[in-house]
Amino acid sequence: MSEPILEARGIVKSFGRVRALRGASFTVEAGEVVALVGDNGAGKSTLVKTLAGVHQPDAGEIRFAGETVTLESPVAARQLGIEVVYQDLALAAELDPAGNLYLGQEILRSGVLGRLGFIDKPEMRRRADASFADLGVRIQDTGSPVATMSGGQRQGIAVCRAVTWASKVVFMDEPTAALGVVQTRNVLDLIKRVRDRGIAVVLISHNMPEVLEVADRIEVLRLGERVARFTRDQATLEQIIGAMTGAIRHEEETAR
């Protein structure tokens, strides 16, 4: 088996006296959907932020495609092809979808105007529309501000933006938490399409039926440590819940 695309080994992270991660490990294989589950306070968010370069681990190792890396900032993670869709989506509501997709990486016009900083709005819009169509994100009027759009459309735009810049791994933090039934279905389909492009998706979710549907593998975090790993075929709801609550433990104790 080839090296995992992204791997955390024995990550320790404390905030003051709170030990959020106590030697947590996590593995993402290329082109898979892996669910990261755990009860509230298990350390999911901290682990994701550590792997996205937001937090620096106190101890432990992060490996990217088999090499040890230091993610000193979100920009460093982004340069490796790692993007995060946060729960708040981080969209600029007054900009249109294309503006959000290319925020910070605007396409400039050619020639002198481009050197003066003029942005190429039609080109960004054209490419954004193509990205949305490609991933099946439906937006009727791509010229209106994101503020006028539904929760599902916003989620689609945020995912689309992440996928546009992520070549390797996309983290999605509770992507369906605020969505209705139909919109949730669309986002789950979207996750599968992203995976089919060869980009690994890490799904953080509390919704177990959803996890069992889309995830190829499931890793369970409890009290700052990985306590169990399942493939979809092995996993049952009882086992996952058992691991989350501490009734089942597969993994060896790691350094405290």
């Binding site: 979100p74 920009v75 982004r78 946060y86 708040d88 981080a90 969209l91 600029a92 509501a93 007054e94 900009l95 503006g99 959000n100 925020l103 910070g104 990486q105 605007e106 400039l108 003066l116 900083g117 003029f118 942005i119 709005k121 169509a133 490609d134 099946g136 439906r138 009727q140 009027d141 010229g143 209106s144 501000p145 503020a147 006028t148 389909d189 599968k192 399409r193 089919d196 492009r197």
Partner: protein, 346 residues
């Protein structure tokens, strides 16, 4: 791609949706949705009303020139204020920075002596430099020191105005080169259009394009729309804020220079409410105090509505004090429109 079969339905529907979208939102929809068009129509309506009431005196080249000249300096301030308000900030220091820059520019020109373009350029450089300096201080206080824009610029408002008075002992400086007063201050392009008006409109045009069509403008909107999202997109929010406040400061410096050129003196006591007037103009023009929305075109309309009202009331014999009442009402209406627009979107 393995998902091709999954995409077929959406691909098949996409063109229909695009057509629906076009039908639901014709080309003029964006114009109707934009507040600056409505404000522009109000301005046109005012001009038509006063023209009908007093065709002889209101509709004349001389009167149009008066209105535009009165509005020119405020327009330069309002352009900078527009950028600041789009970042969800506010700049209360513009009038004080105008006075400070005017005073130091006059002192500088006086010290250099002479009545040539060289002296005038020295004055311009001093005014721009002073404005830029205060703008950088504002930007630093807001972006780095995290002092709210309201308090930071209220502080620099007091400091700049106070220092201008310390330097002059509170006495207006009138040693202004006559060449400056006769050309930029009161001269006209082709003998018709006052240079002050030409300069103000060139400033509005250049920075209007900068705001609407460049990366700098886009990042300005983004900071005001969602600061955290802008930061996560890898844009330096602090640097963008610093630049925006520096721009507003430099434009206040330019306005100070233009004001000295026009009045041949520093008018220290005459700019206490410039900040409120510029904010009023910007907000009437459809720029949202919550940030993320706005345009320079709207601010141009917003500057001219009070100016036309003032002039029209004088000409029609209405007590000009009513202008303040009317402008206040327009301001409240403009903000209410903005609120309605935001509520409808949620």
């Amino acid at each position: 791609m393995s998902s091709a079969s999954q995409q077929l339905p959406s691909d098949a529907e996409a063109p229909d949706e695009a057509i629906d979208g076009e039908e639901a939102r014709p080309w003029w929809a964006a114009l109707v949705a934009s507040q600056s068009i409505w404000i522009g129509l109000i301005l046109v309506g005012l001009i038509i009303a006063f023209s009908i009431l007093r065709p002889a005196s209101f509709v004349s080249v001389a009167n149009g020139r008066n209105i535009a000249t009165d509005a020119a300096v405020l327009l330069v301030l309002a352009v900078g204020q527009t950028f600041v308000i789009i970042t969800a900030g506010i700049d209360l220091s513009v009038g004080a920075v105008l006075v400070f820059s005017g005073v130091l520019a006059t002192r500088g020109m006086s010290a250099v002596g002479g009545n040539g373009w060289g002296t005038i350029l020295v004055g311009l450089a001093i005014a721009l430099g002073c404005g830029l300096g205060w703008g950088l201080i504002n930007g630093f206080l807001v972006a780095k020191a995290k002092i709210g824009a309201l308090i930071a610029t209220l502080g620099t408002f007091g400091m700049a105005l106070g220092l201008a008075q310390v330097v002059t002992g509170g006495v207006d400086q009138s040693d202004v080169p006559s060449k400056l007063v006769n050309t930029i201050g009161n001269g006209r392009l082709f003998g018709e259009i006052p240079w002050l008006v030409v300069i103000a409109f060139v400033v509005a045009l250049v920075f209007g394009v900068l705001l609407a069509a460049t990366r700098f403008g886009r990042h300005t909107f983004a900071v005001g729309s969602n600061e955290e999202a802008t930061r996560r997109a890898g844009i330096s929010v602090d640097r963008q804020l610093l630049k925006v406040y520096a721009l507003a400061g430099a434009l206040s410096g330019l306005a100070g220079f233009l004001s000295v050129a026009r009045f041949a003196t520093t008018t220290i006591a005459g700019h206490a409410t410039d900040n409120l007037q510029s904010i009023t103009a910007v907000v009437i023009g459809g720029t949202s105090l919550f940030g993320g929305i706005g345009s320079i075109l709207g601010s141009v309309f917003g500057v001219f509505i009070p100016a036309v009202l003032q002039n029209g009331f004088v000409i029609t014999g209405v007590q000009p004090f009513w202008q303040q009442v009317a402008v206040g009402a327009v301001l409240i209406a403009a903000v209410y429109l903005d609120q309605l627009r935001r509520r409808r979107r949620q």
